[in-house]
């Protein structure tokens, strides 16, 4: 058993043929994670006790001849902004270094009910704010493909463990690209579902109108399987969608001939790098499958970054107000009065990126600036969403790069926050429109660095997105 490369289907077959038990697989996954993790710092914690208990439950169900569930025995990693009852969940922040949640996120409950085994919690940028996983209070995560480079972010730990093989699949969260960009950098599949497709209950809030939970996997098939388990209406999240969840895996039938795929010219202007070459080769591969590329335009694209960094920081400044030194474990030793205690706790507790976003968000919401920034950005968001709605009248899917460049070196972009924000250009539009989008491996640069191809479809058409990604994967063989 090579735990590092097993698929969900192989685990299912291994369990039903009694080649291994869930307990054996889990012990092996924990052992492998323990030896490999020092290379990347992708896991912040291994949840040994909880994992072995979940595996024992799967083995009992198997022994009784019951269906152990679609994720039976599958080693799953969970980003540390997603709460796990009784298992420390730090969000990559000093402020929550000792926080032990009293409840599970709905996605966590559902994946365990489906037989999934949570191996551990993964590192991320503090409160999911960043594009490199360097903004973690617990040290950066390194890219398993090249440990001098970042894994991307903010879900860098979840991308890294799947690439490294220390989990079969993982949960991440995406507000402006935090699943797709690290998936691209680490050479794995990363999926941002439709807004509301997966309950946000138990996802520590960053920007509530933009936050999504989504899967990482080594294949589209495994990502589709995991999404099928965690998706669907949840009364604990009033924004979660009522739309029924189809059986995504049964729809991976390769029927992509004749599909019209839009190539937004705003995303391809100035993309004359190795990344651009690989994306164009990916488009050629889809042509071989009978897809019909079309030139399209998404004219509001140029305004997306400004729009996003107003809305996201405004929402973040409100959501992060709760870390006040009263309810969540950490309080500054200084500060005589209540207000001084708040200020000292937050000043000492938050890292530089969180402070910058709290400040920007507070500024754009403050008296006299609300209309000029926040309201204006919400109107521009309407135009960005409208661009996509109009595009999907003409095409079945949109193809785009994920990131303008492959994984960069640790420290390379830390000193220029605006430049780091600008690198999110290809991913934030999907979040602003609330449409499903994903990164699928599309080849490697001469230096061996993975590049992802982004596929975007209309609201709730995850099935169409997966079908295209799965066909692409089989045609090209870039997947791990």
């Amino acid at each position: 058993m090579n735990v590092a490369r097993l698929t969900i289907d192989e685990i299912r077959q291994g369990l039903s043929a009694r080649r291994f038990s869930a307990a054996e697989l889990t012990r092996e996954a924990l052992r492998f994670a323990g030896t490999e993790n020092p290379k990347t710092n992708a896991y912040l914690l291994l949840a040994e006790e909880r994992a072995l208990a979940a595996a024992a439950a799967v083995d009992e169900r198997l022994a009784r001849g019951e269906d152990p569930g679609p994720l039976a025995g599958v080693p799953v990693a969970v980003k540390d902004v997603i709460l796990t009852r009784g298992v420390r969940s730090t969000c990559g922040s000093r402020l929550l270094a000792n926080y032990v949640p009293p409840y599970d996120a709905t996605a966590v409950t559902r994946l365990e009910q489906a037989g999934g085994v949570i191996i551990g919690k993964t590192n991320c940028d503090e409160f999911a704010m960043g594009s490199s996983t360097e903004n973690s209070a617990f040290g950066p995560t390194r890219n398993p493909v090249d440990t001098d480079r970042v894994p991307g972010g903010s879900s860098g730990g979840s991308a890294a463990v799947v690439a490294q093989g220390t989990a079969t699949v993982a949960l991440g969260s995406d507000t402006g690209g935090s699943i797709r960009q690290p998936a691209s950098f680490c050479g794995v599949v990363g999926v941002t579902p439709t807004y509301g497709r997966v309950s946000r209950h138990g996802l520590v809030a960053f920007a509530s109108s933009l936050d999504h939970i989504g899967p990482f996997a080594r294949t589209t098939r495994d990502a589709a399987r995991l999404l099928g388990v965690i998706a669907g209406r949840d009364e604990m999240d009033s924004t979660s969608a009522f739309a029924p969840v189809p059986d995504y895996v049964s729809m991976l039938d390769g029927a992509v001939g004749g599909l019209k795929i839009g190539l937004p010219r705003e995303y391809f202007q100035g993309l004359a790098s190795e990344t651009g070459d690989l994306i164009h080769r990916g488009i050629d591969a889809l042509k071989m499958l009978g897809c019909q590329p079309r030139d399209i335009s998404l004219p509001a694209t140029d305004y997306a970054i400004a729009c996003y960094y107003i809305i996201a920081t405004a929402e973040a400044s409100s959501n992060l107000a709760r870390y006040d030194g009263v309810r969540y474990t950490t309080r500054s030793a200084s500060g005589e009065t209540l207000i001084d205690m708040y200020r000292a706790t937050r000043g000492e507790g938050f890292g530089a990126e969180c402070k910058r976003r709290i400040m920007l968000g507070t500024y754009v919401l403050s008296a006299g600036y609300y209309d000029a920034y926040y309201l204006k950005a919400q109107k521009v968001r309407t135009l960005i969403a409208r661009d996509f709605a109009e595009a999907f009248q003409q095409v079945d899917a949109i193809l785009a790069p994920v990131s303008p460049f492959p994984a960069f070196r640790l420290g390379e972009k830390l000193d220029d926050p605006l430049e780091m924000y600008l690198s999110d250009i290809y991913t934030i539009t999907g979040d602003l429109a609330g449409i499903p989008c994903m990164s699928v491996p599309c080849g490697k640069t001469a230096a061996g660095l993975p590049v992802g191809l982004q596929i975007l479809t209309n609201h709730f058409n995850e099935a169409g997105m997966f079908r295209l990604a799965d066909a692409f994967e089989k045609e090209t063989d870039h997947a791990l």
């Binding site: 926080y99 009522f242 938050f350 920007l360 920034y373 309407t382 605006l418 924000y421 609330g434």
Partner: protein
């Protein structure tokens, strides 16, 4: 300049965030650059556009209301288990009322 150091200090107070002198200077520089970039939005005519206050919502107005039935919630113990400082079943904070 979009924002001065004095304004940074004012916003930091609104956000209940203590910044060092060094952080304040750096924040002014970085926010200035970012806010200037955000001016870009003014190029767009949005006079006839509604703000997008809700991402997606396809159900009726009351669809998210649950049945009016009693059910379990966090226990008192669990609710304060993560308190920075707790005592006698309460969250404890620095004194806010002085005795006369």
């Amino acid at each position: 300049m979009k924002i001065s150091e004095a304004e940074v200090r004012y916003v930091a107070d609104l956000a209940n965030l203590k910044l060092t002198a060094g952080e304040t200077a750096r924040m002014a520089r970085e926010m200035d650059e970012i806010l200037k970039y955000m001016e870009k939005l003014n190029e767009m005519d949005t006079s006839a556009v509604e703000p997008m206050a809700q991402v997606l919502y396809e159900a009726g107005e009351t669809a998210t209301l649950r049945a009016d039935a009693e059910r379990g919630t966090l226990t008192h113990h669990d609710a304060i288990a993560n308190a920075a400082v707790a005592g006698r079943g309460h969250f404890k904070v620095p004194k806010v009322i002085e005795r006369g």
